[in-house]
Symmetry: D2
Subunit: 307 residues, 4 copies
């Protein structure tokens, strides 16, 4: 093992700890909402950590962001108006803006300081997207904004790129049935909702399952998919919820055609095979996802325990 | 994090270390070939460690073993004679024996002590397979055995379930072009060869690539596939090499039919969707796998560095 | 750093963790009272761990045991009857028995299994002392035994070699004012009481201070002393409490004379210089020890927090 | 254990690792000579790390610096001219300047950047000493400076406060017999030389022993002493070498008198008892220090291995 002196300890499950050698600390900032750390890893390059959780790294952020954005965007017929909840790094916005049909992409991230940090240090992530004329970034409470500032049936795609729902964190009110009902109302009839939906592996899946089962109370189509994120050391869950379109109906060839028609610029991870891979769930995962779970409501939120 | 006092440290990549809390040490034995440790993890149950590498755990060994065995077995038309190289836990043998067509399954593992440990402590793994009348376990040098004791075109499926090719380990002579030529010779024309083929993720893939490119010098069909193994904290690579059959030609429905026709007993991980998932490689992995690499030969073996 | 796969993690202070490579696990046993682990360290040899705390190691146990036993024994005029509270390894008893004047050494350790483990695995520690004709080992509750089975003014030296007073551990009722009153009553007028008295360093000293200040309510002479124990990575506190004799009155030369007169066999750590060193406290430690603290009573015991 | 996300790993002996939670990184700088890191620990406050070794912390630096400086200064009859080798933090200088007799204190530290860092961030250490009119700080090669710029028999006290002699570090040529001969020559007849002299504990002492035995080839009086430094988790060795005065001849009372006569300002660690404690070596340490060892010469330097 290469010698380092400073390490980031990623507390993982109840008795695992993943240690990452750190060459340099670039940012260490406590904003009013969260603790942001940007460090340099010899393996993953820049590594963004919020409240002790790796959010994304310059080496593999494309896997997470392409997985979150493109299945939903291609499922939507012609996405013009898109809203991103969270997404502070600007990379979700970057991927959204690759779609030629986009007229306006609105990003609502409560943490102004996080956006400042992104602009200054995360150039590889946003690649200028935060300043795009098609984009607008608002530092507001996303729950309130969706409730009061967005009209019924006005949005094509909503993408939830939030931090995990910790009791002491800023995100948990954006994972409840009541909020998902607002999302449903604001989406057009052919609208699509995509979420990062917590860790999904056989040893840890309860939060994903609760989000999934809560969405199923509202949306007719709810599809879990997942992919392996190297810097997370685990597969990660996503969900697409929609009023009618089903991502399972798209073949690899169809995805490849849609990509060449509708996307400008290169993708590094997502293509037809990737789409099929992410949505083809193994037998054990299908079994897990068929289980009952708590439904998340404003009155009974489900929190992820701090590890 | 739950409090433990003893930990297994999994040295991972050049500056990562994964720490697993350990409730109990069941076996700690240095055989003439390797250092075997069997420990109890609160997350993964029994965890078998050889020379510092997690081999498999009672919680998730089915993922590894079903992934290694069934794609090759179902690709073979009617596997009767099967040879397993390595496979000390007995779980590869267990999966092979689920195929009704099997007449004889030969397992060649050099380490007699490992087999004794498996018989005594790894009941969940082998489930009696090591004593099956259809099975035969030999503690011999697999290279020599394949060279001298197996006739040309006599085997349906060969499964290589070996530890990684470390310079000081027992396995590296079983990953060379010369040995793969012997494998090719001993397989029937419709024969299939499947291997565990080292870690495969975007940050670590050179050993997989060398094994793959070496096999391509000999076999007309060489397919990499991979799956996430939770206790490894990474996706793991496998390869199918065959004289004519291609696993990409099998659809999810075909796999599901073959499973119900040909397999006795339940599978927990592998089904049609799983087959599709494992063989559908994302764009970045396809790019990696198209690269050149060293070819592994007896004269120029490729070793995995001790971390 | 040498490569090991298993590690003991010593949780130390509130944000420190000391990791010890482990070559072998010799014993891992949960008795009715505590969790015993005996492991092999490349640096310290056999390492005895109780409930996650290193108790002593074959490399440096002589430092702890000689420090605990000899200052008190030499301060006593002619120790014939000695009682040891705890002391499961048998090494405290071993040191006591080196004093020629000893007629009877009684050791009261509640944990029968710990004694069995010591007899079987800790030969380097007890060196046969547990079987000495002058010794008697009783597996009883020491509090009750001292209350009911020992007469007033009958004991020359009492040595408390207990595990730390954790709320869930077996020892905390042996660190209270009420118990120290019993000790005082059972000691002869020229009697001496010595205790292992928890960690003593500038960052951690509250437990030592409470034990010290509690003893001062009862005994006219109370002297803290301390020494560095390598395997603990810290200095460790001891206390001598007596009715009249003061260890500060003994010079290095006097100690050396007493050792040659009264002790049979070799000492490895303790001599005149060591006596002076252990009792000469630096300015910062003297300041700490002059502070007020909680007094430990049966009604208001003071517990060490589990780290 | 308190939760932190960033840790400093102190590699300790061949299979030990001490992990310190880090709240903040204040400085991370590679100078032409060394890698400086200043971090905030919840236990030790600011912690200065050079090339992976803890140098001193705001919580306990006084122990190290008072131990290094005052025994030598009080042993000197009337120290007027003092030279400090190394000592970048400015705390050794601070302690030297407490002696009223000082006319001129010269500090030779090769690393200009380290001094700049000290001035800016280590106010608690130097407390303005680096700017004192009695002090002069030169960023030069100390070996060369002592050889060419200092006259024979001109210095009262020389204090060596260098980093450890690593093969790739800046200090190893200041630990050789040839250099000690220069020191001897430059000291007045009543001169005293004091050194930080590497770790001294029963498991690690070879470097200390070599420095000691090398000094003994030159100086008639050579005394090892040691004290426990909490942030180092170990006792640390120092040596006084002189032409005639012996620190063993000073009693606790004499030290206390000298302190009140000759020192301005408060000491926190060193007093008469501390002097006695540091110089009273236990039996096992005396045994170790009586061993033979390599002599360090320019031709055959002794290096500390990187851990």
């Amino acid at each position: 093992m290469e010698k380092n002196y400073l390490y980031f300890h990623d507390f993982f499950e109840k008795s695992e700890e993943h240690i990452h050698g750190i060459e340099k600390i670039l940012v260490d900032l406590r904003t009013p909402y969260q603790h942001l750390q940007l460090v340099q890893s010899p393996i993953f390059g820049k590594m963004l950590i919020i409240d002790g959780d790796i959010q994304s790294t310059s080496k593999d952020e494309y896997i997470y962001h392409e997985s979150l954005v493109h299945p939903a965007m291609l499922l939507s017929e012609k996405p013009e108006n898109v809203i991103i909840l969270g997404g502070g790094e600007g990379a979700t916005l970057r991927e959204v803006l690759k779609h030629k049909s986009i007229v306006k992409a609105l990003m609502i991230d409560i943490d102004k300081d996080a956006i400042q940090i992104a602009k200054k240090y995360l150039q590889e992530w946003h690649q200028g997207a935060l300043e795009s004329p098609k984009a607008k970034v608002l530092n507001l409470n996303a729950r309130k904004f969706m409730e009061t500032q967005v009209s019924t049936r006005s949005v094509d795609v909503i993408i939830s790129d939030l931090t995990e729902p910790f009791e002491d964190g800023p995100s948990y009110k954006l994972f409840t049935k009541e909020f998902f009902e607002i999302i449903n109302d604001r989406l057009k009839d052919r609208g699509v909702f995509a979420l990062q939906a917590s860790i999904l592996r056989i040893t840890t899946f309860k939060m994903h399952l609760s989000i999934r089962n809560t969405l199923k109370k509202i949306f007719p189509v709810v599809r879990s998919y997942y992919t392996y994120i190297p810097s997370f050391d685990t597969t990660w869950g996503f969900i697409i919820a929609s009023k009618k379109y089903d991502p399972l109906n798209l073949s690899a060839n169809q995805i490849n055609s849609l990509i060449s028609e509708r996307i400008e610029g290169q993708l590094k991870f997502y293509d037809g095979d990737t789409h099929i891979q992410m949505l083809s769930l193994p037998k054990d995962i299908k079994l897990i996802l068929s289980e009952d779970s708590e439904i998340i409501t404003d009155q009974n939120p489900v929190f992820l325990p701090r590890k």
